[in-house]
């Protein structure tokens, strides 16, 4: 006879305010097979868990149903409690009274009745549960880090320094990401390259890090501890082992006017190029779309110039397969281009630039060597206008969220401008100043009070050109609340930070979830900020949401410590929710007829063939067998099996029918 215990959680007000939890417990107590039913304010708390443990011991329970939140949230908690009291953890089930009931319905009798129904279903299921044991799987102690910006660099170094192997994949020819493009960093105004480039070198030299630049993830298969990644090493057209990085090829290249991505379009580069002098690795690539040889079949100037004969025009993309145990996604962000803004000239005005472009103007390694000179005529602008929230916090025309870093970098830009152009005036049009962070507010005040930046609270409705000036029409909503016009020489838009254009494609490759803005989702917004919903995949940096360098580095280190924690064990235990082909005593052996329709159906190549042989070694039958370390428990084979010979452990047909029939 089953002896089931039912435990109803109020979840504070979450369930308790909508569902009559005491009534649910009472009703559950009257169900056949239920010998114990109680309700409690917070079942997941220590006293709550004790209620379950005591009942298991005292009432000799054979099964437990917890009516509480989503199993995604607390199933591990309650199963652990059961195990501690000596009950097989897979004899514990959760009825989701929160997401499936209290959160989606109004308070009332019908809602309470639904909660009772949900509990009754699970009671019927748990009566048919069998004790299961977790599956143990080995871990490949090598991590894959996607993206070589500051987030990827930090994560890779931290994992490598913990003693584990790391493969760092970057799609650009060099690591460094956006941080390498920045001039100074807030709130300390230390030079971005000065703090970043040593880390880049460390990555290149670290014995535990294998660096693949100019490479992209092609596909990722497998599961936590046992992923298999295929990396596409794009053809550099240069033999890296021979190239010494001397730069002779770059000097000879016939194409010299290609907009430089590193300089955000403000500088020029050649077709064979290194993105910037401090690049890691300092080995060029040929941009085949722009190269004269690839376009016309003639040129090869670089080949003639190369002293080590490293140019390889016929090099092909190479696919590399690597087994890894964990993945850190750190693929970064993009910014909206000026062409996104019709009211600010559609990108047609040369002297309306993005914040990233201003970084290059202000950077000592930039196209103007750090002098602030406007793109159109190379003059030093005497009046400069910064527009914060260009596209951000604007559900009508842009994006609804706050890009988070713009208030701070705009203050920094205005400050740098004031330091470099002493007779110039900087204006900042803003909505609000969001300067939460250590020494952040002080930094903004410094821009206003010491560097005399004129902060105007209001939006800019339009920019147009007139007599060589950019007329910035806006409004000052403070004091006398009047329209204002500034005749500016240069306008900098703090354009919204967005996800990478191919973020969605990447997320689908990794099978991880993402939000409406294509930012990747962490597993829990508060308590699991670096994990993702797919076990073994972690997230760091601005691919998850807009964030600044300190936050990015913190998250990257967090992700790295999660990976190191995982790698500190030799094997992982997996839930035994896998498909099983039934076995019977002879002479039946199994009801499987060996049609292998399941093999066709399985998306994970988990179906193997098993030969049943007699004592004399003669083949009796060949039946299907599920490789439990590969099976993902999706159940497709169960649905397809014509002889009903496969069942999903923990979700057998019998259990699911019992649940439904209880309704």
């Amino acid at each position: 006879m089953p002896r089931i215990g039912v435990f109803i959680c109020h979840c504070g007000e979450n369930i308790g305010a909508t569902v009559d939890c005491a009534a649910v417990a009472q009703a559950a107590g009257r169900l056949p097979g239920v010998v114990h039913a109680v309700d409690y304010k917070y079942m997941c708390s220590d006293p709550g868990q004790s209620l379950i443990k005591e009942a298991i011991r005292e009432k000799r329970l054979t099964g437990v149903v917890v009516g509480a939140c989503s199993p995604r949230m607390h199933e591990p908690t309650f199963r652990r409690a059961c195990a501690e009291a000596g009950l097989n953890p897979f004899l514990c089930e959760m009825a989701n009274l929160r997401e499936h009931c209290s959160w989606v319905h109004e308070k009332g009798e019908v809602t309470t009745q639904k909660a009772i129904d949900l509990v009754r279903m699970l009671v019927e299921k748990v009566k048919r549960n069998r004790p299961l044991t977790p599956i143990r799987v080995p871990i490949t102690k090598r991590a894959l880090v996607l993206g070589g910006g500051i987030a990827g660099i930090q994560a890779a170094l931290d994992i490598a320094n913990a003693g584990h192997k790391v493969v760092l994949v970057e799609r650009d020819p060099s690591i460094g990401g956006h941080m390498a493009q920045l001039s100074e960093t807030f709130p300390t105004l230390d030079c971005s390259q000065c703090i970043l480039t040593p880390r880049m070198v460390e990555v290149a030299q670290h014995p535990n890090i294998t660096l693949y630049t100019y490479s992209e993830l092609e596909s990722l298969d497998g599961f936590i501890g046992n992923f298999r990644a295929t990396i596409r090493k794009k053809a550099r057209s240069v033999d890296e082992s021979l190239c010494t990085g001397c730069g002779a090829c770059i000097q000879k290249c016939a194409q010299k006017k290609i907009p430089s991505e590193f300089n955000a379009g403000l500088g020029r580069r050649t077709a064979i190029y290194v993105p910037f002098p401090q690049a890691v690795p300092n080995k060029p690539v040929i941009d085949r779309a722009r190269c004269t040889y690839y376009k016309s079949g003639r040129c090869k100037l670089c080949e003639k110039a190369c002293p080590t004969k490293a140019i390889r025009f016929d090099q092909e993309d190479e696919l590399v397969t690597i087994d890894v145990g964990a993945v850190v996604v750190a693929t970064g962000y993009d910014v909206k281009p000026t062409s996104f803004f019709p009211e600010y000239g559609y990108g047609e005005y040369k002297d309306v630039i993005t914040g990233l472009q201003f970084e290059r103007l202000a950077s000592a390694s930039g196209p103007t060597l750090g002098e602030i000179r406007r793109p159109s005529d190379n003059e030093v602008p005497k009046k400069i206008v910064f527009i914060a929230c260009a596209g951000s916090r604007d559900p009508a025309k842009g994006i609804h969220y706050c890009s988070k870093i713009c208030c701070m970098y705009t203050a920094k830009h205005a400050m740098l401008y004031s330091h470099k152009v002493h007779d110039g005036q900087a204006y900042v049009f803003y909505m609000d100043i969001r300067a939460g962070g250590k020494m952040y507010e002080e930094f903004v005040r410094r821009a206003v009070e010491e560097d005399h930046v004129r902060y105007v609270r209001g939006r800019v409705s339009r920019i147009y050109q007139k007599d060589g000036k950019l007329i910035v029409k806006g409004v000052d909503t403070l004091l006398n609340s009047r329209p204002v016009e500034v005749e500016a020489d240069l306008v900098v838009l703090a354009t919204a930070m967005t996800a990478q254009p191919d973020a969605e494609e990447l997320a689908q490759k990794l099978k991880v979830s993402y939000d409406g803005d294509k930012f990747l989702n962490e597993a829990h917004p508060k308590l699991r900020p670096v994990e993702m919903n797919t076990a073994g995949i972690f997230v760091a940096g601005a691919c998850q949401a807009p964030k600044d360098i300190p936050e990015t580095v913190a998250q990257a280190s967090g992700a790295a410590s999660k990976v190191a924690g995982m790698f500190s064990r030799d094997e992982l235990s997996r839930e035994p929710v896998v498909a099983v082909v039934n076995r019977q005593p002879p002479p039946v052996w199994s009801t499987c007829v060996g049609c292998f329709l399941c093999e066709t159906a399985c998306a994970y190549q988990a179906i193997e063939r098993e030969e049943i042989r007699g004592r004399d070694g003669s083949l009796i039958r060949t039946i299907a067998k599920v490789n439990e370390s590969v099976c993902q428990g999706c159940g497709t084979c169960v649905a397809l099996c014509r002889s009903k010979s496969i069942d999903l452990q923990g979700y057998t047909n019998e259990q699911v029918y019992a649940e439904l029939l209880a309704l």
Binding site: P342, E343, R462, K466, I471
Partner: protein, 301 residues
Amino acid sequence: MRFGFFPGCSQEGSSREYQESLREVASRLGIELAEIPDWNCCGATAAHTLNHRLALALPARTLALAEQAGLDEVVVPCSACYNRLAGTRHELLHDEALRQQITDIIEMNWHGATRILNVLEWLNRVAGELPGHVSAPFGHRVACYYGCYLTRPKALAACRRIEDPIEMDELVRAVGAEPIRWAYKVECCGAGLSVSRTESVARLSERIVSDAVERGAEAIVVACPMCHTNLDLRRDAILAAAPPGGRSRLASIPVLYISQVIGLAMGVSPRPLGLHRHHVPVRLSAAPPSVAPVAPGEGEE
């Protein structure tokens, strides 16, 4: 083809040339504009500053009448009327309780079947017919002025790009004109302050006219009676507001309705298009033959 037509007050009075030219163009295109029987005031600014339900009930009655008359789409030339009718339709379609309340007030049924079109939407709908009718391409540089209500609010989404609409630019290009790029396409003309604070209107409209003139426009094209009134009828006040010395060049630039431009390009003579009713005389030199008509959409930047 048959469309419903809601004239509103202006089309019978101060801007009757707009209706005259619209009907002229429609008949040339073989389109019937059927006036909604027994239509009433849209409520305009007055109602919605005083009483929200009144502001909804007035247009709702007209919408219900249009529906009863079996009109699927109604052309509304005045931007303020358009805003009230399209806005009311939008609000009532998105709030069932409110719709119930308003239909109780007007004591009529309304299901939201009738769609509201402003003149630009309507003309763009039939733009495919235009090239065949153009006999005298309007070969002038023009400043297309949209004002406020043709592009806003976004929920009504009459124009694709609210900060830089191009619907009118496409239309004038289709009849041989050359739309200029300028800065005041959607700036405020002062609107209803025309009556109560004329000097504000003069100040705001002066900048619109100045920018158009400075960037080489020979005419300003509008699709709203209020815009027309402020830029045309208030020209003397605009001149008074202009800096001395710059006045004379602002005096002569005419303001035409989009339907008048199209009508002229179709070879209609000025009088049936009501050009003689303007305050600033429409004296445009003969069209230079160099500008060829372009089908809508082709010239988009």
